[in-house]
Amino acid sequence: MRGFSRLHHSLNPIWSTFWKMGFIGLWLICLGGTASGEATDPFSNTDLTELSLEELMSLEVTSVSKKKQKLSESAAAIFVITQEDIRRSGVTSIPEALRMVPGIQVGRGSKNQWHISARGFNERFTNKLLVLIDGRTIYNSLFAGVTWETQDTMLEDIERIEVIRGPGGALWGVNAVNGVINIITKKAQDTQGLLVSGVAGSEEGIVSIRQGGSHGSDFHYRLFSKYFNRDTSFNAMGAHDDTHMFRSGFRTDWELDAHDHVMVQGEFYTGDGGQQSTVATTTTFPFGFTRGNEDLEMSGGHFLTRWEHTWDSGSDMALQFFYDRYERDENTIKATIDTFDVDFQHRFEFFGNQEILWGMEYRYWTDKLQNTPGTSVSPDSQSFNLVSGFLQDEITLIPDTFTVTIGTKLSHNHFTGFEYQPSGRFLWKPVDGHSLWGAVSRAVRVPSRLEDNSLLTLPPNATTPFPTLVRGNQEFKTEDLLAFEIGYRLNTFERITFDITGFYNQYDNIRGTRVISLAPPTGTLANNLEVDTIGVELASDLQIHDWWRIRGAYTYINMTVDGPINTALSTVGRATPHHQGSIRSLITLPFQVEFDSWLRIADNIPAPNIADYVELDLRLGWKPWPNLDLSLVGQNLLDNHHPEAAPSLLLATQPTEVQRSVYGKITWSY
């Protein structure tokens, strides 16, 4: 990249002019399209009653009230995990299900640590991925990441998981840089009756129970509880990562009338997870450290309510409120976070060929931290406000053939003030069943609390034989992304779908470190890295026979990091496998028997030296009666144990290896 810098400096003025012309041109086209919506109706001045019935019947129509867009028709890289995918893959947690999605990197760091990212930057607290469950963001503003170990629900009650790779900042806001994962649970009317399921196996035991009911025909509810116990896995130095968690919750859905729907849900969880951590015991050089086993405690809960209203004209709105509590107690830090959030969205038709979606959101959160000698964040209690609004216009230039979507989000956050995240997309369907889409977007990742003002004392590790201090930086800026995506989707026949996406992501101001003192070795966080990422993602779905389906996914990604990278403190660009593949075969046999297999391949990662791996899962399912489902599952069958995740350098906990596991599952519904 560096060799070209002179070249692109000289090209810059020409380029930026061209760029601006492009945007102006785009707007002109859209305005032209709007105006032409009326003008090009060839019958606008014709009296249609003068046409014969035969002539009327030969006219193509455009529906004024547009149906909601199918996901497969959106101008973005979307993959949907269905309930059937979850059931037949034999996974026992949400993160495992994400392994089937192209463009998503999943590494299991231990029984309670997951390294999940979209399009690179894989680490334990991936800060460029936004995750929502039923519209509630679970992105943790303290670490800038998702604590996957606390995210769970009855897998049987998940309707689908929508995974959108690429920037979603224009709609979803300041952390949807590389992707958005939307976990959507079933409506209460779809989970009526009693369901009991149990998993027992070499690595885990799970018991779930759900009871659904109704009052009249318009009000439905469900209550559920789930407990799991995951066993210690493998590490040459001892693992101690067994994890237990209990959760219980409810959801109600109330159809007030044909136009109004109110959903209320709530949940609480409590659990503990083992880990091996190395924690500083003194605050002065040369520092003392203790390494040992601990059981971190995690608990929390949420309450969410959403009102959705639909007008006859086809427009709709949603108003949502949620409260979320997060508590965590481990040797490095203790934290409590309370979040309140109000969100409003409205969608309507405009000029016949445009669909406007706009919304406003306000979030308030307050945290209380208890510092330790090794980790201190100041002040130890702080409150934050986040205000944002977005506007998106989807313009149909040729009905059912060509649409352009332009949108932007504008938000104001505590650390960096105003941020805007525009995006422009097109979707072209030249022939039925084929679609080509492209997008250019800007997205930002706002600083986290730890990046702003903290002091971490890190023990010596494999790369540095000394203890190291890392300071936060109150001047820390947002990390910026300018992303270019292009994709093609084939969906001609019911039996074949094929999806390919290519992207080029250009990041600026990525977090690195800068040395500020050598005795003791001290670094501060700085926005001093530039990263270029290029990648290709493939997904295919072949229904070979009525009884045999094959789904495949492949991901290639290459990250180029430019800047003073400190390998002792950062794994950027070195913890994401270049190649990743997944092939699933789903076979439905006679007598209600299912045989499913899943082969996964991941390339090696250099930080630090995690070998490539090939793993196989097998599932044999049998449904002797409609209300009884039995299955036998083997996971990670090809190795006794294999590592998948690099240790987190800023949090001295030891990852463990994933072990082979076998379990039996019984699901009974009534």
Binding site: H8, W19, C30, G33, D41, L48, L56, V61
Partner: protein
């Protein structure tokens, strides 16, 4: 290095985009010249004109030879002003059109055509007894509507508007549907 927020580092991508932006112009221009589509409800409104033309009501349903032919729309009218704009100045066999919206259900016998848009098509169940013996042509938009005994149903097939006729329901009334209309319709068989 400092640069604008929209500076692109990859020379290859800059090159590709410089090809792509003119392509965008071309597509946009072709979009402006190619859009030849008519709004669904304009066509449906024209269909009403033809229905009135190809259906014979018993003369007893008109009190005078130049009495209005009443089209009653129940529920929320998806036509907006389209029906009025297209039909209010027209007449069929000397009967000028009159569009009534949500007339009291006790007066539905005065309608010649009763139209229940998709959002209201299932309301036929509650209204049927009011129009059953009154020679009212019922027009709806859902399959349920036909199951409930509706006479004509609009549907969209391959982006084109078509209609189905429930001959059983029509035959139970005194309405006469011309063979031309029957020939173009899909015949609904319960």
């Amino acid at each position: 290095m400092t640069h604008s927020r929209f500076h692109i580092r990859s020379p290859l991508l800059r090159f590709l985009l410089s090809l792509f932006i003119p392509f965008f112009f071309l597509i946009g221009i072709s979009a402006i010249s190619r859009a030849e589509v008519v709004e669904e409800y304009k066509i449906k409104a024209a269909f009403f004109y033809h229905f009135a033309n190809f259906v014979d009501w018993p003369t007893s349903t008109f009190e005078a030879t130049n009495e209005h032919l009443r089209i009653c729309v129940m529920g929320t009218d998806p036509f907006g002003q389209t029906l009025d704009d297209m039909l209010s100045k027209k007449s069929v066999r000397n009967h000028p059109f009159e569009i009534l919206r949500n007339p009291p259900t006790t007066q539905l016998q005065y309608c010649h055509v009763l139209y229940l848009p998709a959002s209201a098509s299932s309301k036929l169940q509650g209204l049927r007894h009011r129009v059953e013996d009154e020679d009212v042509l019922t027009v709806g938009e859902t399959l349920d509507f036909m199951r409930l005994g509706g006479m004509v149903q609009f549907f969209i097939d391959n982006q084109k508007i078509r209609f189905a006729i429930n001959t059983k329901a029509v035959n139970q009334s005194n309405l006469k549907v011309s063979s031309k209309l029957l020939r173009l319709a899909k015949i609904y068989t319960p």
